[in-house]
């Protein structure tokens, strides 16, 4: 049990125009050789700052105030430039969050990998190339001999991350740091990458440090966990102990917030009320006290110590665990948030009126210019982004549209709103076909439908105040109202304090910006809202608030939602019905609970099984799905899912399946559905 990395008493500040930010305070942790250690925290917790501190790659405005990072008997924080450069990429190597932006766009993989091995003088350039090819093959890149001469943009997202892992493993590091290694990837890719990292760790016995906000990923991958919050470590220990006996109230709350943990459909999700504290001010007491439901006076004034929970190294920093002061053992009631409504009651009074009926919508995109197509002799330079999709939505109902990136889910949403031209098909909304309307005819209808956009902050104009953003919909549709009153009403509806009205978007947190987005969507009392990835970019503790808000608003106003998302656990919580998309086709539609319980299409099954469970006891032994989504330009023959399907039969390879209706009313596009 030797310690590979031992960090003691680390304090890091950032100089900012608004004063010093105390980004890391009294960080103590160690990493045992041969283990996978996860650092978990929400945005602003300082988890990435730890990585950049120990590799001396911090931004220029950072100051390391104190601390020791002992790595193999050497203090990394005191190492001079050449020494640390010699350690980076030799002893410590990294896998980055976004493989697209973290690999050079103008150099081939062969060149980049050759550069990484520049210190290995004993190898000839031919040997280096062979080594790189072997490593690419090891991480599962098909045909590495030729693909090594390609550029990153010629790889798909999953393949790019595999190449990123290959690059980091080339130097045979003793410590591998993975910074959010799967955040930019789809669920099925995420599962494959987790699997790959675990295998590589077993083969090479490398020590790995994984930084992530994703509790499921950490549970699947790690041996030990470090829980961080607002620049401090709150709890550390073995993965099983932390997940089965979370001792710090923050850990308990965080675990309770993860929608993947609840397997049943609950209408209300747990949240952690409040915001992360301002790190310009050093907290006097416990850093979590302002949001902790169990906090006592003591917590706000005095710093808690680390208390040992079990004989192993399970430590938590909370006053309530002090053995000398007998307080009730913290048993948080975060999970016991009263469930106000039960889903079956919700629609009993509804008249089940059809609001939207989408029939065989087809959307095509050109893949080359007309001139280029002419020159190449291609008559049909189009791909089908959406292929004959049919959906229906009733008033006050939520439909979840799920698919991996590139499945056409966003395009379908945009087609319904008339933002992309459809080739054929119709979208009947209150009896009118939206696809046939021109933009002037569409405008009055837009009062009844609204869109929540993907990027909460980016979709708000940076130069407008919250008030002017909120009343903008009235102005667009020329509705004369008392704007001040309307803004206040909307603030109240989305539970945003009124003094936020004079703020600008950059002064809002992700969750607050998302509320403004909800308020804008709600301004005109729409009956239908399309929400594109409503929780993307939000922390787990905040995403629950948004989902609960959407839910409450539905109950109050009877709004119908079309929720577009790749995040299955989120969709499961708010959807009544689900539609799963693959390569532009809907492959399974029907009741959400049924689909999750008994998936009928093999792809749905793979997706459902692909959700990493925040429970280290439920680690998967086998991969649920292999391979990648094929390109839209070369759709497979027969059933388009057959190259990745584990139940594939001869018929699937030649005959395209037709839609089958199951006994519970679900529609499945499969020759051999798993349910009947």
């Amino acid at each position: 049990m030797t310690k590979l990395l031992d960090v003691k008493n680390l304090n890091v500040d950032f100089r900012t125009p608004l004063g010093r930010v105390h980004a890391l305070r009294d960080i103590n942790f160690s990493i045992t050789k041969g283990k996978i250690v996860g650092i978990v925290g929400e945005s602003g917790s300082g988890k990435s700052t730890i990585i950049w501190t120990i590799t001396q790659l911090l931004a220029k405005n950072a100051i390391v105030k104190s601390g020791v990072a002992n790595f193999n008997g050497m203090d990394l924080l005191k190492a001079d430039n050449d020494t640390i450069r010699g350690i980076r990429g030799e002893k410590i190597s990294m896998v980055f969050q976004d493989p697209m932006t973290s690999q050079s766009p103008v150099l081939t993989y062969a060149q980049q990998m050759n550069d990484i091995m520049y210190r290995k003088n004993e190898l000839s350039s031919q040997e280096k190339r062979e080594k790189a090819i072997a490593m690419m093959r090891r991480v599962g890149i098909p045909d590495p001999e030729s693909r090594i001469d390609q550029y990153p943009h010629q790889f798909s997202g999953g393949m790019r991350q595999r190449a990123g892992i290959a690059m980091s493993m080339l130097v045979e590091p003793s410590l591998l740091i993975a910074d959010e290694p799967t955040t930019a990837l789809d669920v099925t890719m995420e599962a494959q990458i987790i699997h790959l990292i675990r295998e590589l760790q077993k083969e090479t016995d490398t020590t790995i440090m994984v930084v992530s906000h994703n509790l499921g990923l950490i549970a699947e991958l790690c041996d030990e966990v470090i829980i961080m919050y607002a620049g401090e470590i709150l709890e550390t220990g073995k993965i099983e102990e932390i997940y089965s006996n979370p001792s710090h109230p923050y850990t308990q709350a965080l675990l309770a917030c993860d929608p993947a943990r609840e397997s049943k459909k609950t209408r209300t999700l747990s949240v952690i009320p409040g915001d992360i504290p301002d790190s310009h001010i050093k907290p006097k007491g416990c850093v979590f006290a302002s949001r902790c439901e169990l906090a006592v006076q003591h917590c706000r004034t005095e710093k808690p110590e680390n208390y040992r929970i079990s004989r192993s190294n399970h430590l938590a920093k909370c006053h309530l665990l002090d053995p000398k002061k007998p307080l009730p053992k913290p048993q948080s009631n975060f999970k016991k948030i009263p469930k106000t409504k039960i889903s079956s009651e919700r629609f009993s009074h509804k008249d089940k009126e059809k609001l939207l009926k989408v029939n065989n919508i087809r959307v095509q995109f050109p893949i080359m210019t007309k001139l280029k197509a002419k020159l190449k002799g291609i008559n049909d330079p189009y791909v089908d982004a959406v292929f004959n999709a049919s959906l229906s939505l009733e008033r006050g109902e939520t439909l979840g549209l799920v698919g991996e990136s590139g499945s056409g889910k966003t395009t379908l949403g945009r087609a319904i709103l008339g933002l992309v031209r459809t080739k054929s098909g119709s979208a009947e909304y209150n009896g009118r076909d939206l696809c046939q309307l021109n933009s002037r005819e569409f405008k009055p209808l837009r009062r009844n439908m609204a869109m929540m956009f993907q990027d909460p902050v980016g979709s708000l104009s940076p130069r407008q105040t919250v008030r002017s953003l909120m009343v903008e919909p009235f102005k667009i549709h020329g509705i004369e109202k008392n704007y001040d009153e309307e803004a206040k009403r909307l603030c109240e509806t989305v539970r945003l304090p009124e003094n936020f009205l004079s703020r600008y978007p950059h002064e809002l947190s992700g969750g607050q910006a998302r509320r403004v987005g909800v308020a804008r969507a709600l301004a005109l009392n729409p009956e239908f809202i399309i929400a594109d990835e409503p929780t993307a970019g939000l922390d787990v503790s905040v995403q629950g608030e948004i989902l609960n808000l959407m839910n409450d608003l539905q109950d109050e106003h009877g709004i119908a939602y079309l929720v577009i998302s790749h995040n299955l656990p989120v969709v499961r919580h708010i959807s009544d019905k689900l539609a799963i998309m693959y390569l532009g086709r809907l492959i399974e539609t029907g009741d959400s609970a049924n689909i999750f319980e008994k998936p009928a299409h093999p792809y749905t099954e793979a997706l459902v099984n692909g959700i990493p469970q925040p429970d280290p006891k439920k680690r998967r032994k086998l991969l649920s799905i292999e391979g990648e989504i094929p390109s839209l330009t070369s759709r497979p023959l027969g059933c388009e899912f057959h190259p990745r399907c584990k139940y594939v039969q001869k018929k699937c390879k030649f005959d395209p399946p037709s839609i089958k209706t199951l006994s519970d009313g679900r529609e499945v596009l499969c020759h051999f559905p798993l349910q009947t």
Binding site: L57, Q103, D115, Y118, H153, L371, K376
Partner: protein
């Protein structure tokens, strides 16, 4: 790739055509009668009519334009009003001097400006960066004719190192280079500043990209990171700028050519404007436009070829 190339070439042809049209219209909207300018005030109506018929000036305007375009396509840019020599011949004698001057000027300023911008971006706010900043603004702000005069005063009159005027003995390569130094210095100096600032700005942007951080995290040498990983991307907008700059210099060397008494396109345009020698002006402007379009096309193609992301989409 080929369709992109074809499209760009067609576009370039269109630009040249529109430029010719604009030139034609401008020349015909200038007050004054080309016939009386050509023949002088004392020419008899018979001579004027004979001249008009010979020059097709009696035909309607659109017909004249068609004839003009046809002649341009045949390479006939008309004759000098005074010497009656072929304009194309006159220009082809002058053009090499201008091209050589422009290439040398842009060349040396790129050799100095790009590394300077690079170094100041690598260490922003360092002493070198501050000096580069001041020098860049200075060289951009000082007009090139002033630089020319000062350079002559210092290096030719004062130090007597370099010759003042002329382009050197034809055929004597060394002498020609000797005569090229001062004009190239004067013309290129401003471009050092431009290029340094441009490269600095795009390098700063690229140096904050994630892949530079990755390269650092893999412990690559600073030199590799700066020149192979960062500059390769940061140079792309600069190449476009160099293309445009080279085009601008083809007609922008006029000051240097006059002050140093060098032959060249700028010089000839200047002289012929004073002499109202319209066919030569017209031809020179046409040649300049053509060169400009070709150079920008090459620069654009080079940029898209160097960036593999763009290359694949062509």
């Amino acid at each position: 790739m080929w369709s992109y190339l074809l499209k760009r070439i067609l576009l370039s042809v269109l630009i040249v055509f529109l430029a010719i049209l604009a030139l034609f219209i401008t020349l015909h909207s200038i007050p004054g009668d080309p016939i009386s300018i050509a023949l002088g005030p004392r020419a008899t109506p018979e001579i004027q009519a004979e001249y008009a018929a010979r020059m097709h000036l009696d035909k309607p305007l659109y017909h004249q334009f068609v004839i003009f375009i046809g002649n341009v396509l045949k390479g006939d840019l008309g004759n000098d009003l005074f010497s009656n020599r072929s304009v194309l011949l006159i220009l082809s004698e002058q053009l090499p001097y201008t091209i050589v001057l422009a290439v040398t000027a842009i060349g040396w300023s790129a050799l100095i400006g790009i590394p300077l911008g690079c170094l100041s971006a690598v260490k922003p706010n360092s002493l070198l960066d501050k000096i580069t900043g001041i020098v860049s603004v200075g060289t951009i702000a000082i007009p090139s004719f002033l630089v020319s005069i000062w350079a002559i005063l210092i290096f030719s009159v004062g130090l007597k190192w370099l010759p003042v005027i002329g382009a050197g003995e034809p055929g004597d390569f060394g002498d020609q280079i000797y005569h090229l130094i001062l004009p190239a210095f004067a013309v290129g100096l401003g471009w050092v500043g431009y290029l340094a600032r441009m490269v600095r700005a795009s390098m700063l942007e690229v140096m904050s990209e994630n892949y530079i951080r990755s390269a650092n995290a893999f412990g690559l040498k600073s030199r590799t990171i700066i020149f192979k990983y960062a500059l390769k991307v940061a140079i792309l907008p600069t190449i476009t700028l160099i293309g445009v700059g080279f085009g601008a210099l083809l007609s922008g060397t006029v000051f240097a050519e006059i002050i140093f008494s060098r032959p060249g396109i700028g010089k000839i345009i200047y002289n012929m404007v004073l002499a109202r020698n319209f066919p030569v002006i017209q031809g020179a402007v046409l040649i300049t436009i053509g060169m400009y379009v070709i150079v920008t096309l090459i620069a654009d193609l080079a940029v898209s070829w160097l960036d593999p992301r763009v290359r694949d989409t062509l």
